[in-house]
């Protein structure tokens, strides 16, 4: 039950962020330092999310089929595959490696 509370609070906060953007005067965005932080932070968050999803397992690191998915997705992106193809390639690599017995 308590998960519901945090879940709904998360939804509320997510909407608050979104709406806040529409209430802030556009002039603030022209501050170069603020827009720069927004840019570096998004790169950092996406890099961190990629790594956590690839090797994170609770509070430890695990090297498993997800690493294969990461590599396969990287190769697909290198060859300029569209987003959807990249996602499918990642899934196929992880599923294929598990079929071969690598967890």
């Amino acid at each position: 039950m308590s998960l519901w509370i945090w879940l709904l609070l998360s939804c509320l906060l997510a909407y608050a962020w979104k709406l806040l953007g529409y209430l802030v005067p556009a002039s603030l965005l022209r501050n170069p330092r603020m827009s720069r932080i927004a840019g570096t932070m998004t790169i950092g968050l996406l890099a961190s999310l990629t790594v956590v999803n690839a090797v994170g397992s609770g509070q430890s690191l695990a090297l498993d089929a997800r690493l294969g998915a990461l590599a396969a997705a990287g190769i697909a992106l290198w060859f300029r595959a569209p987003f959807l193809v990249v996602v499918i390639v990642g899934a196929a690599a992880a599923a294929g490696l598990r079929l071969l017995g690598w967890n």
Partner: protein, 262 residues
Amino acid sequence: MKILKSPAVRIGLSISVATGLYGVSFGALSVTSGLNFWQTMALSLLLFSGGSQFAFIGVVAGGGSGVAAMGAATLLGMRNGIYGMQLNALLQPRGWRRFAAAQLTIDESTATSTGQTDPQEQKRGFWTAGIGVFVLWNLFTALGALAGGALGDPKQWGLDGAAVAAFLGLLWPRLKGREPVAIAVVCAVATVLAVPFVPPGVPILVAAVVAAGIGWFSHARSDEGLEPDVDPYAEHHEHRHGHADDADHTGDLPADRDGGTA
């Protein structure tokens, strides 16, 4: 139909399909993370921001607390505020539309809108991608959540690999030049180092603080990375480069190849 001739609408629709399908992965992963069907749907309907949703269930799956899950999801949702500022300046929605636009403010709708130059197209792109992704993402979330149990372990189908690939796919277009790559590497290393020492979800916050620090103290180009995560116009730009005289050469847009989806 005339509306389908609009390039922004076409791109918005193809992005909607690409992102919507990915909702299957979220729905299936969410129920195996321990959330029930309605909790999964509440995240897709109310939170509606892919990265934050995956972060939330990721923390829960890793045994993290509800507070940690909320922290990770909320921090990741921060960039939607930045998108909101940009879109507010571009679209200037009024009345109830402003509240609807806020909920639809995500990577994909922002990318589709800001890639257009004509104000009318910016509006069309935003609403097409925003509503399109919302509808399909929720439909496929429900499908994934319902089929997730029947499909067995989503890992067997590589759905956790799909999540890894999707995040790399969102990061990739931003890695143009040496500096963004360096930021990504530093934050990835910071994440790996933090994992064993802090609760699940917190390593992402550590990386965010590191990234903010880099942004605060560096004095390079200020526009770096401000563009949204998905750049559906990348191929178009490259193409236009070689055909500067072609005013309307949408035939090579990626969206056009998916014309059937329109």
